[in-house]
Amino acid sequence: MKIKDVSLLIVDDEFSVRDSLEQWFRMDGFDVDTAEDTKQAFEKFRLKKWDIVLLDIKMPGMDGIEFNKHIMSVNPDIIVIIITAFASVETAVQAIKDGAFDYVSKPLDPEHLSNLIRNALEKQQLTQENIKLRERIEDLTTPDDIIGTSDALRKVLRLVVNVAKTDSTVMIRGESGTGKELIARAIHANSIRKYAPIISINCGGLTETLLESELFGHEKGAYTGADRLRIGKLERANKGTIFFDEIGNISMKMQMDLLRVLETKQFTRLGSDKPIDVDFRVVSATNRDLEKAVKEGYFREDLYFRLNVVTIDVPPLRDRQKDIPLLARYFFNLFTKAMVKPIKDIHPEAMRMIENYKWPGNIRELRNVIERAIVICDKELILPENLSFPFESMNAHVITSDDSLEAAEHRQIQRVLTKTGWQLTKTAEILKIDRTTLYNKIKKYNLHKDGDE
């Protein structure tokens, strides 16, 4: 790594500090730039990857402490050196706890600074090597809670990474509960817009008027009840990504308004006629058959084509069989930690039920089932009786790929067996079949009472 390949950003509101440090680092051959406040720094972060940031901790606007946290949350490998006035060393120590590399007090000792930079470069070099290694093993960065190793998921993630690099509009399709929003976040996190926000809006849950003011914002006094200025989500998503969830549910009027925004990259707040320019990537999601809605005239064809440049199909959980136990364990750890319960594990029999269940409500249902099980569990293991599958009886018809009579029979027998604790006479009674038939069915569906002998 040559010094000229190392990018260094100086963030300080004082011109003389920026100027002297810029000169100083330029003489070393660094690729140097400066920003006079965090707003400008955000902008520079959007445009380029920085290796080292010298950050004044006390600036007007968002303070350095917050900005440091932001940098760390986006990329903890960036080396942040805090510049502080002598009096605010305590704050600098806080910044180091938050992940900053070190701090220097004004005025800086040149010997100290050059040693610090030398150490920073060494760390940087190590991190670079680690990153390369990591990239070789796994070239995807995903939000932490996309869990799984199934081929179906990997296919999706590969697509995510490819599409993230472009600025294309993406439509995410999939049943409810499959984690479409997580996919949208992964796209954003892997794009050049990652330093700006991703703003989500659920179009399904809001009335037209509410949705309108959520999206466009309004001036003070735009209508009764608009007692103050409200910045809408379109405006807040500027430079970042806007995620429209349940896009299939918006009204015809809203479709037209949205189309206009996407075409002109401009909008006006309600109660204003001043157009505001916006620049964002659009990601939308739906579980509806939009093609059918277009054909039937409920969804504008022009909007459909504008939103649907790249499609990502998120598979239902039943097509990711391999990921079910991983997800179950992930949620198990998450909730036992959150609820501080001394539950050690999921009983193998309970795990088997989890694996065999078809999960019509997908990941969201799995998450709910595990959460509820942990709430009611008072033993060291999650037992089969702690599991309840509300979808099973209510919504079994959503299972499209496995809606056969046989599958239904299989599920029903399994369920009653579990409920009775494998008391065959009782099970046969409930199912209104004789014991021989029950035996045969158990054999046919290869049902086991594992781990509970």
Binding site: I3, S16, V17, S20, L21, Q23, W24, R26, M27, D28, G29, K106, P107, L108, D109, P110, E111, L113, S114, N115
Partner: protein, 180 residues
């Protein structure tokens, strides 16, 4: 077109430091080297609180009162003050990258400053190196990673002793190109 190097002493007491310097700079840069005076008022650069002199203010005075037209020479102010720029506790000197002027002080080049015993030979050699280094910046040179090159950055005063007073081949070529 910079065909000359002009040394400007500023309230310098020990003129013996200059003789060697003129010779060395002439050999290294292969340009004529003159010594001239300029109307510089150090008290305007003095910081009462820090008890140090602002190298940037001195540089500005040098440019405003240059003894020769700015496009014909590179100017090097030479002084004994403890220099600073506001963000740093001190500096050995300051140069304008690709600009007309540089300044260097012997203050922190002397062993006495660090509690050692005075050594004129060592001091002369350090001054030659730092003067060459700062002038190198005015010819557009960056710091050089070659450990012996005079453009190698010295963190400590002892680091200066480890490098040579000369440019490496690459830096030398750039000085020649920069002086055209």
């Amino acid at each position: 077109m910079s065909k000359n190097i002009c040394i400007v002493p500023v309230e310098l007491n020990d003129y013996s430091l200059i003789e060697n310097l003129v010779l060395y700079l002439n050999q290294t840069f292969e340009f004529p080297v003159h010594v001239k005076t300029a109307n510089i008022k150090p008290h305007l650069a003095y910081d009462q609180r820090r008890l140090q002199y602002s190298s940037s203010i001195l540089l500005k005075q040098l440019i405003d009162n240059s003894p020769e037209p700015l496009n014909q020479s590179k100017f090097l102010a030479l002084c004994e003050f403890d220099l600073f720029i506001p963000i740093f506790t001190y500096v050995f000197g300051e140069a304008q990258l690709n600009g007309p002027a540089a300044i260097v002080s012997v203050h922190r080049l002397q062993n006495e400053f660090y509690g050692g015993s005075s050594d004129r030979e060592v001091l002369r050699e350090r001054l030659i190196k730092e003067a060459t280094h700062e002038l190198g910046h005015t010819f557009g040179l960056y710091h050089c990673l070659h450990p012996k090159c005079v453009m190698n950055f010295s963190t400590y005063v002892e680091d200066i002793d480890d490098k040579s007073p000369l440019f490496c081949d690459q830096c030398k070529a750039e000085v020649i190109a920069g002086g055209e």
